[in-house]
């Protein structure tokens, strides 16, 4: 009997942690009970991107998009929708307005998807990542077949060069150029490495590709191997990504079984072997020279460049190292051509970029847009804007190496050069949105704390300098800052940028510098007025009850320090000398009568 309905349950890490595995099992159970197991199939896919609304379930061919599905909803979906064709309206994802609600059911038309252009994520959420046939069904391994049977290694490199593809791991180095720099002066081994370390806080683009479409990375690495004459590849992935590791290893095994890895691929005599290597999750191990040291079994610390990896890399042999997302573009470029890729994006940044959108935004999740899309389109049209009607304040790109952009930059087309010109970077694709309730000094401090923790300690500017910067920031948020601290912060920042050994230290001051540039007044408020305008820095704020108070007593009951007094139905008061500023009163107040000043 032919299959009439396919139920796709999102199997990304986000949805898995809210029980999508159990949901899938429940579907299988119910479908069996209804005797539909020969007509309906269920499987876990990779990430759909709209993580905010997970667990997500899509029913084909109706293209129905169910959001926030619970195990207890499954029976209803089966009995109503799958058996009787009645879409379960109350579970269908809806975008805000009533007008949109009318056409919510078809997920391809949802704003969140309609505005995207998917190349790196083209299979994520569509195929079953545990089934190599499904990847092949979407033209998988055809690009590998094409290069092995009809292109010379030089032609492959030229095609990638012409496409204008630049590294998605942060620095944006042209991929074709990197491949062409590989040293061919002797016939010893060469290596291809995929960087899947993904250490930026808030970033999960690479994890999503490995979980949702692992074969694309395998295929691209084999193509890269052919292009530079390497027969061995390694995927360096952090052990904190267990699902990605499992799916990647499964995919590698299947590729070997099909003869798409190993010896004599497609009978052409070309051999390529691939292995996953697990990292322990240090940020610095994402830096390419530290990463290679880690694969070699050494302590993960960077070294000076040159020599560049293309000349002396892994085990002193010529090596190319590319990011997961960079590689995920390669098979499509080979199949559809550099010309096609050139039509997408801006003059100097071709193609698309995947972003992990988080922070104060309605649609937390993963999206892929053409380069040149504006921040406003990403945040408002795709991201659905800021929750609770709050005011947009800034967006942080590039994580601990990047910087903040403000409302004045909302209409800037996103590409490598524009972001760099504004004092941030594209980075690997983390995008954290902040609203009026975020303190920019606090944000800078958050990222600096991260880099201080993650500094490997090899060079002094990074090890000592970032720590000194953090001490100054702590002084400022404690209300003990002076104006000369701001100058000193800037001087230290410039010095650390100029003298650190690797990219970690060279970029660590960026979050501080960019907030100093864009939100100088906020620093001054902390230093001169001893006030935190956003009401975040504990030592600079006090909690007050306003006249809105209805005297319900909720704040009093929830205060762990017994700092609140007041009769029922009368205005309450906070004794600021014993208040510990935990915020429990503010969270519990039903009428928003408690404020910080």
């Amino acid at each position: 009997m032919a299959i009439r309905t396919q139920v796709v349950v999102c199997g990304g890490t986000g949805c898995m942690s809210s029980h999508s595995k159990e949901i899938k099992e429940k579907f299988e159970e119910c479908i069996k009970e209804l005797g539909l197991e020969n007509e309906v199939v269920v499987f876990n896919s990779g990430c759909f991107g709209l993580c905010e609304r997970g667990p997500v379930v899509v029913v084909y061919p109706d293209d129905t998009f169910y959001a926030h599905v619970k195990v207890s909803d499954v029976e209803t979906i089966c009995k109503e929708h799958i058996l009787k064709g009645r879409v379960v309206e109350k579970l269908v994802y809806s975008e805000m307005t009533a007008e949109e609600k009318a056409k919510i059911k078809v997920f391809r038309e949802m704003n969140f998807y309609a505005r995207q252009e998917r190349i790196a994520l083209r299979n994520c959420g569509i195929i079953n990542p545990m089934d190599i046939d499904e990847y092949i069904g979407r033209s998988g391994y055809e690009a590998l077949g094409k290069v092995l049977t009809s292109m010379t290694p030089q032609e492959v490199i030229d095609e990638i060069l012409k496409s204008g593809l630049r590294g998605r791991g942060g620095a944006g180095f042209p991929t074709g150029r990197k491949w062409s720099l590989v040293d061919h002066s002797d016939n010893g081994p060469r290596y291809v490495i995929c960087n899947a370390d993904e250490g930026d806080p808030g970033a999960f683009m690479d994890r999503a590709v490995l979980e949702g479409d692992p074969h694309v990375v395998i295929e691209a690495m084999a193509i890269a191997g052919y292009a530079i004459g390497a027969n061995q590849g390694y995927v360096y992935v952090r052990a904190e990504y267990p699902l990605a590791v499992e799916r990647l290893n499964h995919a590698i095994k299947q590729a070997y079984e099909y003869g798409l890895l190993g010896d004599d691929i497609f009978g052409t005599g070309f051999s390529f072997n691939l292995e996953a290597r697990l990292g322990a999750g240090a940020f610095v191990c994402g830096e390419e020279t530290a990463l290679m040291a880690s694969i070699e079994g050494e302590r993960g610390m960077p070294r000076n460049k040159p020599p560049f990896p293309a000349v002396k890399g892994l085990w002193q042999r010529p090596t190319i190292i590319n990011n997961v997302e960079t590689l995920a573009n390669v098979p499509q470029i080979i199949l559809r051509g550099a010309e096609w890729f050139n039509t997408i994006g801006t003059e100097k940044s071709k193609g698309t970029k995947v972003f992990a959108l988080g922070g104060k935004i309605n649609n937390t999740g993963l999206l892929e847009v053409p380069m040149g899309t504006t921040l406003r389109e990403v945040i408002y049209d795709i991201g659905g804007g800021i929750p609770k009607g709050k005011q947009f304040k800034a967006v942080q790109t590039g994580g601990p190496s990047g910087g903040c952009l403000t409302a004045a930059h909302l209409d800037t087309p996103i590409d490598y050069d524009n972001l760099a010109a504004l004092g941030s970077i594209m980075g690997s694709g983390g995008m954290i949105v902040m609203d009026e309730d975020n303190c920019m000094v606090d944000v800078a401090k958050f990222f600096l704390e991260f880099t201080v923790d993650e500094s490997c300690g090899k060079c002094t500017p990074c090890r000592e300098g970032t720590r000194r910067m953090l001490e100054i920031l702590n002084k400022i948020v404690d209300g003990k800052g002076e104006m000369k601290d701001l100058t000193e912060l800037k001087d230290l920042a410039e010095f650390i940028k100029g003298s650190s050994l690797c990219g970690l230290g060279q970029t660590a001051p960026n979050p501080v510098l960019s907030t100093l540039n864009n939100f100088y007044d906020e620093y001054v408020a902390h230093v001169v007025d001893k006030k935190c305008p956003a009401g975040v820095c504990k030592n600079l704020i006090k909690y007050y009850v306003t006249d809105k108070c209805i005297g319900c007593g909720k704040c009093k009951r929830n205060c762990p320090a017994s700092a609140i007094t007041g009769e029922l139905k009368a205005k309450h008061e906070i004794n600021t000398s014993i208040c510990i500023k935990c915020g429990a009163c503010k969270t519990n107040c039903p009428v928003g009568a408690i404020i910080t000043k």
Partner: protein, 122 residues
């Protein structure tokens, strides 16, 4: 796998299996599958249509189900929407009639007048 030919074979099989998930803009065939429809025999009708569409590689055709169409006495009901959105409602359909609807209307583009609901409801 030793050749591009082998790869192509796997691709074709897999693509067929996955075509339900593709975006389509051809005919839509909708089978009424509420309790009344199922009791009247809509299940075998739906399955026969799904099979035919798969057998004949009608990649651009969507087959789906809806709840009660509101003509319970005339179930099983099958509705066919052509790419322009014109609807034909067929009633008292059985697997044999379903085959004719697929052959003549969905493939041939010619409405099967004798099964149309208008013939039964005067």
């Amino acid at each position: 796998m030793k050749s591009l030919e082998d790869l192509k074979k796997i691709r074709e099989q897999a693509a067929k299996k996955m075509s339900i998930r593709d975006e389509k803009n051809g005919y839509r065939v909708v089978v009424g599958m509420a309790t009344c429809g199922i009791t009247a025999g809509a299940r075998p009708v739906l399955n026969r249509i799904v099979e035919l569409v798969a057998e004949k590689d009608l990649n651009n055709v969507t087959v789906t189900q809806v709840g009660c169409i509101g003509e319970c006495a005339l179930e099983p009901i099958v509705e066919v929407y052509d790419p322009q959105g014109n609807r034909s409602t067929y009633c008292l359909v059985d697997p044999k009639k379903a085959e004719k609807i697929v052959e003549q209307h969905v493939i041939g583009g010619k409405v099967v007048e004798e099964y149309l609901i208008e013939k039964f409801k005067k």
